[in-house]
Amino acid sequence: MPTPERELLAKELTVEEGKVLFDQAARRLLGVSGDQFLAQWEAGVYRGHEGDPSTMYLVMLLPFAR
């Protein structure tokens, strides 16, 4: 069984690639665009929903969006 490690990359995304990744994740998880989520998060719209796993997953992807 070959070790698949060689196939794996820790690719550093460009800003644009990162925004695409974040946008796709936001649409899939919460049905909003990446820009919408970012604006809403910074405006405190999700205050009180910090326990929601989908929300927190997106929060952990925020460096891709900024």
Binding site: T3, L8, L9, L13, M60
Partner: protein, 176 residues
């Protein structure tokens, strides 16, 4: 582990993450731009992060599971060298319909739930509503602990011959 510069510290950190995840998935990992810049949080996740990564479970026939993994880390001086510190994590196990079964969380930068905890999601089919909303306290959970759990308890197929060496004692259910 300290390294002479931020880039080396991040490379070593990501190398360990890749090896660990490669025990159960062929998906690679991606990081944000300038991911070795000190003084700010950086994100690393599976390449297919907009959709959960499918993994095969060998137990229970054709059962399929999915993973959603992301970490925030920071690179900072350590004495005269540099080291990477994990500052948040999300280790999610989902069913094939993308319903969360388990999610291990630690996100101390967000008010409300600053200590490590576990979510039991709808994919677990737990009937008590308290469980579905609960933040069940845990200690800090490493990615190795999580991947070991997938293999040991959920029968996820291993993709590396040396997975026990990569995951260490937790792979066999032994304490550190």
């Amino acid at each position: 582990m300290p390294h002479p510069n931020p880039a080396d510290a991040v490379d070593a950190f990501l190398h360990d993450l890749r090896r660990c995840l490669a025990c159960v998935t062929r998906d690679g990992i991606v990081r944000n731009q300038d991911s070795a810049k000190p003084g700010q949080d950086h994100s690393v996740t599976l390449r297919s992060s907009s959709a959960p990564v499918k993994v095969e479970a060998r137990r229970g026939g054709a059962t399929k599971l999915a993973l959603r993994v992301a970490l925030l880390y920071r690179v900072a001086p350590h004495l005269t060298d540099w080291a990477v510190y994990i500052v948040s994590y999300h280790y999610g196990l989902l069913d094939v319909d993308e319903k969360e079964i388990l999610v291990y969380h630690w996100h101390p930068q967000v008010q409300g739930f600053v200590t490590p905890h576990l979510h039991v999601g709808p994919g677990a089919k737990a009937e008590r509503t308290e469980l579905r909303k609960a933040h069940l306290p845990t200690g800090r959970v490493s990615l190795k602990d999580f991947v070991s759990l997938l293999i040991r308890e959920f029968g996820v197929q291993t993709l590396r011959e040396d997975w026990k060496d990569v995951l260490g004692p937790t792979a066999l259910g032994e304490g550190p």
